[in-house]
Symmetry: C2
Subunit: 382 residues, 2 copies
């Protein structure tokens, strides 16, 4: 059975003091319903992708489903750190393939900018193993700094190559009206920006944001009925890796991404070279270089060269993050996976405007949770 994305919506990411979490969720939900001409009556369930710790409001699916008019249909939340939105999509995919529901709304939503800096830091300081690692200062950038140092050591990757990821993604961010930052950055500005966790500087890191994106997922019959341009989710891969970096064989790769990628390529019956456009999890610039390698877009250790040669620009081998990526869109944790799926659908429909990859027929999304303990890779076809 084919499973399709029939409708999509995407709110503006950024500092959204104008909206509560439920209001953030409603924006893309209503857009997605309008996109495929349906109403709440036509939707069988709501799956919310979110990381609850950021919200003052507990039990988010409860408050969201009431606000968006989805009672009494079933709802719950999925969490897999920064990949929570992709976990929601996977869960919805399962229900539809099982024949339990025909149409499901997947809403990735996160409100995180109302927290104070100390509150955010306290949360970010607990993303690693709190029993054995967090006490030693392994914050989020701390982990990715370790990965970057190791990658530099093993493969000669340079800070300038990492910076080029930021240059590309901020360049494409100027073409995405939903992105938090829509401004180019220069090599000089990146290289002279404050060190966050050496070698990562401020512009190597993505920023928090409030935001939400929504996908209306449906079985083949329904998708064809409600959408003129259904996009098919033909490969789903998901895997985990040891939470503790002490227990990983290598830290210059994300093993869950390698495994999830293999699953998705196998299921969608294609290879990395067949991908026309991809969104990968660039929470830090080094993460995008590792993603090129983990997904087989280039050989192991050649991520730096890949960006240097502009192979991930439109016109290169595989355009990556031409919606601006997490780097310029901002990273509203639970919304990110659904934002990636939104872009895949926009590209395959040929509706991506200034950032359109001509003739895109196969798109891939790569959503990493936390420090690599989860990865979800999906492949979409027109």
């Amino acid at each position: 059975m084919k499973i399709g994305v029939a409708g999509i919506g995407h709110g503006v990411f950024g500092k959204r003091n104008d909206a509560t979490a439920q209001e953030l969720a409603f924006e893309p939900f209503s857009e997605a319903m309008e996109d495929c001409g349906i109403t709440q009556q036509d939707i069988d369930a709501t799956i919310i992708g979110s990381s609850p710790e950021y919200h003052k409001q507990r039990s988010l699916p409860g408050v969201v489903t009431e606000y968006i008019g989805m009672n009494p249909k079933p709802a719950f939340l999925t969490e897999a750190a920064c990949a929570s939105g992709s976990a929601a999509l996977l869960s919805a995919y399962g229900f539809i393939r099982a024949g339990m529901f025909d149409v499901v709304a997947v809403i990735g939503v996160q409100k995180m900018m109302e927290l104070s800096t100390p509150e955010i830091l306290a949360l970010m300081g607990r993303v690693g193993d709190v029993q054995w690692e967090s006490n030693f200062g392994t914050t989020f950038p701390g982990y990715y700094a370790l990965y970057a140092r190791r990658h530099m050591h093993e493969f000669g990757t340079t800070e300038e190559q990492m910076a080029q990821v930021a240059i590309k993604n901020h360049f494409y961010g100027t073409k995405n009206p939903k992105a938090r930052f829509q401004k180019e950055v220069s090599m000089e500005k990146i290289m002279s920006s404050k060190i966050v966790a050496s070698p990562l500087k401020m512009f190597d890191c993505c920023a928090n944001a409030d935001g939400a994106a929504c996908l209306i997922i449906a079985n083949e019959d329904k998708a064809r009925k409600i959408s003129d341009t259904p996009i098919w989710l033909e490969g789903v891969g998901s895997a985990t890796a040891p939470f503790s970096v002490l227990n990983r064989a290598s830290i210059s790769t994300i093993p869950s991404a390698v495994e999830a990628g293999k699953q998705a390529f196998k299921m969608a019956d294609c290879e990395p070279k067949n991908i026309h456009v991809a969104d990968v999890h660039d929470c830090f610039t080094i993460a995008e270089l590792m993603a090129y390698e983990d997904l087989g877009f280039c050989k192991r250790g050649e991520g730096g060269k890949f960006i240097e040669e502009k192979q991930s620009y439109i016109g290169g081998k595989i355009p990556v993050n031409v919606d601006g990526g997490l780097k310029s869109k901002g990273h509203p944790v639970g919304a990110t996976g659904t934002s990636m799926a939104y872009e895949a659908v926009k590209q395959l429909r040929g509706e991506a405007g200034e950032r359109q990859v001509d003739g895109a027929e196969i798109a891939l999304t790569h959503n990493v949770g936390g420090i690599g303990q989860y990865c979800f890779v999906n492949i979409y076809k027109r």
Copy 2:
């Protein structure tokens, strides 16, 4: 396709200062694997039911899957407040019915006793709608006190009838070695206990606990292969209700429970009178009385009479919470739904020992999330 519970495990609920969340999860997981003679190799994915806000450790599925040896298989967490464990079960059920996985471990786990009283109170104060209701003092017991007052007003339900729920559940708790409290309580002790939110007194309220329970769910073929006594999940129902009590037509009933019950009975092709044993969500004594009515065990308004006549004792019309319920087991939020499923399976296997309902062939579980914004009702058959 039939979906079966092939293996079960249940940790000891209570103040578990001896164990981290991942250690709590491992106890019932290893017990469940042993129960059906499998190892991690035979399991395709792990779904964790939990409410993340209680944990210092973020990204629980990451730390749990590493600790229990389930990398690199997929994992994520589901949250639906107090029904998080049932949401995990529903998600696993979907994946198996979809043919995506053959065998899934569902682990409900919660560690909440390490939080200080002010921390717990702050969390419990945000279970309602924080924008419109929490500021007015609607804590958890506050909401259920409203429900109780309304039930008393409409139907003449008495505080003594509510107390009888506590007497029953603590009586059966003495027969459950996994329960936090294994001691009977008297009418006098309950009625003279401190008022928490009038008319609810201390013994009308369930207690927090640390704990975990695990279910190994499998498709029919696998379930028959790995288990001599598979128990079939033949009806699954799930629904939501308005989060805000201001938007409910009535507060003497939980509309999500009524709806989820209908779905489950229809799917399992049976009626309330066919149920031989049930676990219902007695977070407060009034909640059990409302459950009798919402599920059709008795008529609307006759919940008080039902317990007074001991119809929910073994020997009555439908024995309810003979494992002690949340009242005596304690309520480790994410673990509760899986604990209910564990009891259903024990009863249908005829392995419930001193609390066995003779000849039980059909069991029901009723797991309410939060203040009724979610309900999951499942029906199991031998």
